[in-house]
């Protein structure tokens, strides 16, 4: 690794302002492969090609399980790509510590990232030992309850305004043959639905005490017991979902087979594709209509350290392109996410998106669990909650005990 750090030092001293005069191919790996995602990536590629370089696309579908091992192997195997997507947070931490990733501090300083990127926590999770290693590209928030207006109409109850009303309306939905809450079978859905419930019902302070400070006492406390009770309700209401993928679950809401779904803002793309209108055909409750706080997760690009000087320059050009205001708007409108800069105008955003932007503007934000917990603790949490949601005989109390153990051992 010494040899790599030497290269790093060398690269840092010779780094020049971007003036790529001839095209350099840069391979970019990511897991954005579906229609809307690919359209968004195309915006990035177009903008990057316009700098006189060439975007070589290396898309691999399937985030955690499929794409990441490949990316990590490529980097550690000594045949790195030019740039790669990760969820920003702690996924690439060790690659950085190992000196395999490129320091972007000078690019960030030139572009004044510290001033324009908001909320500041986004850049914080790119920062390791005071140096910036990634370029954030979007903000995704998880805290949404999507509701089918048609389903509630069919059941003869008003569309709920918050979680409690939703729980109260569940029996009516069930009687009408509607699954009240769609939760797909993939483990991350159950786990994140729990986190959303927790942030909404127990509040920001408890959320941070548990996930940031890893306070096991709070995790075992009465405030959290309430959340587990609610999770128990959610489990009962999700019976009969019988789908795997999140978008199949969303589709149940779209078709009125399910009353609602707890899912991130990307679900909105599905409603739009189906031609539904926010407010008329479906409703959205940020923070489950209880606590209007949203968490800011998202995606970021990391740049492996390369020996080729031309390619290193192209990396700089790409990093600058990613946070460019125009690119940010074009990309995020297609992706359905929120730009990482506060200084861009999103007039084209729809009702639900605007609600999210409002909350962002008020500063009611917290970092998401991807940023707070290691992938390891996240995985343990996923195992726990996917088991909980699938197994009605698991009590809320026992689950809380196991949850406390995970938090106590978290790193």
């Amino acid at each position: 690794m010494k040899f790599r750090s030497a290269i790093a030092a060398l690269a840092a001293t010779v780094a020049l302002p971007v003036a790529a005069s001839h095209a350099t191919d840069l391979e970019v790996t990511h897991w954005w492969t579906s229609g809307g995602e690919a359209a968004a990536v195309a915006e990035l590629a177009k903008a990057f090609d316009a700098t006189g370089n060439k975007w070589v696309d290396g898309a691999i579908a399937g985030a955690g399980g499929t794409a990441r091992p490949i990316m990590v192997s490529r980097i550690t195997g000594g045949d790195p790509m030019g740039a790669t997507q990760f969820n920003h947070g702690r996924q690439a931490e060790e690659l950085v510590q190992e000196g395999l990733m490129r320091d972007l501090t000078d690019v960030a300083e030139r572009g004044k990232w510290k001033e324009i990127i908001r909320p500041a926590s986004l850049l914080d999770s790119c920062t390791i030992d005071g140096k910036i290693y990634c370029a954030p590209v979007n903000i995704h928030s998880w805290q949404w309850l999507w509701l089918s207006n048609a389903a509630f109409e069919k059941a003869g109850v008003a569309v709920p305004k918050n979680w409690d009303e939703f729980v109260a309306a569940a029996p009516a939905l069930e009687q009408a043959g509607i699954v009240p809450l769609a939760v797909g079978g993939q483990p991350w859905q159950a786990s994140n639905a729990f986190d959303v419930l927790m942030l909404a019902l127990a509040g920001k302070d408890t959320f941070l005490q548990v996930f940031q400070e890893r306070n096991a006492e709070v995790a075992a406390g009465p405030e959290m017991a309430k959340v587990f009770k609610a999770a128990d309700d959610a489990r009962r209401m999700s019976k009969g979902t019988n789908v795997q993928d999140w978008n199949q679950a969303t589709n149940m809401v779209i078709t009125g087979k399910a009353g609602g779904q707890i899912m991130g803002d990307w679900a909105q793309g599905e409603f739009q594709l189906a031609g539904l209108k926010a407010g008329e055909d479906y409703s959205c409750l940020p923070g489950l209509g209880v606590t209007e706080v949203i968490a800011t997760g998202g995606d970021a690009f990391y740049f492996p350290l390369l020996e080729d000087e031309e390619k290193s320059k192209a990396q700089e050009a790409l990093a600058e392109t990613l946070v460019d205001p125009k690119v940010q708007v074009a990309f995020n409108l297609k992706k359905g996410s929120v730009p990482v800069r506060g200084d861009v105008d999103l007039a084209a955003a729809n009702d639900c998106m605007k609600k999210g932007l409002d909350i962002l503007a008020k500063g009611n934000v917290v970092p998401w669990t991807d940023q707070l917990l290691s992938a390891d603790s996240q995985k343990q949490k996923e195992d726990l909650f996917s088991e909980f949601f699938a197994n009605p005989s698991m009590t809320a109390e026992d689950t809380q005990k196991r949850f406390v153990e995970i938090i106590a051992a978290a790193d």
């Binding site: 391979e27 091992p69 192997s73 790509m81």
Partner: protein, 313 residues
């Protein structure tokens, strides 16, 4: 070199040739429509239905339009046959920015499968030959390790292999991938060849030795020509395994070499938007087409191998 006559004579002496080289046997009364015939054919047809049902569903689905899939049941034949899903799967389904469907990875898959299959079979057959006819001290220990190696999950070996390939400078290249396939095909293939060669009449080998043939001479002039059926079996196993491989194809190469399965994965696993079952199914069949074709073609070779064996019966 011993001639074919010699070969025929010695074949009688084999105690239990574990070979594929003889005709159908077993008790066989030849009455039409006896209870036995009914039981035999009945069972076979029921079994055949179980094996064919999924293929039927795949084909039928791939020929339907999306609205029909959403409404109809999966077993009903298409009301309106459309080949659009096939065209889309082959040439226009998107993988990130590259909207050229499976066609993009087809030649890569061929380029990976052909050398990997050839080299892994060559090496494994030589291993099997050395193990059965030229046993040297310690050979069995290596072979035992190899067999135990067959039980190690591939995923566990990813890291060590990344390190080894990095150290020998082959990481990210096509030859690196060929080596990986050769390594993971070795245990089962070596076992197959070893058992097969051990089942060949020993007198053949001895006679050739007396004639002065050496290690390679006997291998090339006697063992290989006599072993067509087992080579076919090995080829079936390898072509299937390598063609369908996804994990090694992406971990050990770069995008310009990505096999077809990467596009299949991308088409099938992209979660946003409506799941296009018809395109998924068409892509699935198209990806499986090459191994399937190998089966149909080699099925004949297989029969030939059996027929050749019948001569000496």
């Amino acid at each position: 070199m011993s001639d074919r006559g010699h070969l025929k004579k010695t074949a009688h002496l084999a105690e239990v040739p574990a070979s594929w080289e003889s005709g159908p046997r077993g008790a066989r009364p030849r009455r039409l429509l006896s209870t036995r015939t009914i039981v035999v054919y009945g069972t076979l047809f029921v079994a055949a239905a179980y094996y064919l049902l999924p293929l039927y569903v795949m084909i039928v689905t791939s020929l339907k339009g999306m609205p029909e899939i959403r409404l109809g049941n999966i077993f009903s034949p298409p009301l309106e046959i459309t080949f659009e899903p096939w065209v889309k799967a082959w040439s226009s389904a998107c993988t990130g920015l590259n909207c050229d469907g499976l066609s993009r990875g087809f030649w890569n898959s061929v380029m990976i499968t052909v050398p990997s299959t050839a080299i892994s079979i060559a090496i494994a057959s030589i291993n099997g030959y050395a193990l059965s006819n030229w046993r040297f001290k310690g050979a069995d220990i290596f072979f035992t390790i190899l067999i135990v190696g067959a039980f190690i999950p591939y995923q566990v070996m990813l890291y060590p292999i990344v390190i080894v390939l990095r150290e020998i400078g082959l990481y990210g290249s096509l030859s690196g991938l060929v080596i990986v396939h050769t390594i993971f095909g070795m245990p089962i293939l070596t076992l197959l060849f070893r058992n097969y060669f051990a089942g060949l009449p020993e007198e053949l080998f001895k006679a050739a030795r007396v004639d002065g043939a050496g290690f390679w001479g006997i291998y090339l002039k006697i063992m290989v020509p006599m072993s067509l059926p087992i080579f076919v079996v090995a080829m079936i196993l390898q072509v299937t395994g390598i063609w369908n491989d996804f994990l090694f194809g992406v971990v050990f190469t770069r995008p310009e070499y990505y096999p077809m399965t990467v596009q299949l994965n991308n088409i099938v696993n992209s979660v946003q938007g409506v799941k296009e079952y018809n395109v998924n199914m068409a892509a699935t069949i198209l990806t499986g087409a090459v191994p399937l074709l190998v089966y149909f073609v080699s099925g004949r070779l297989f029969v030939r191998g059996i027929a050749a064996g019948a001569v000496k019966g």
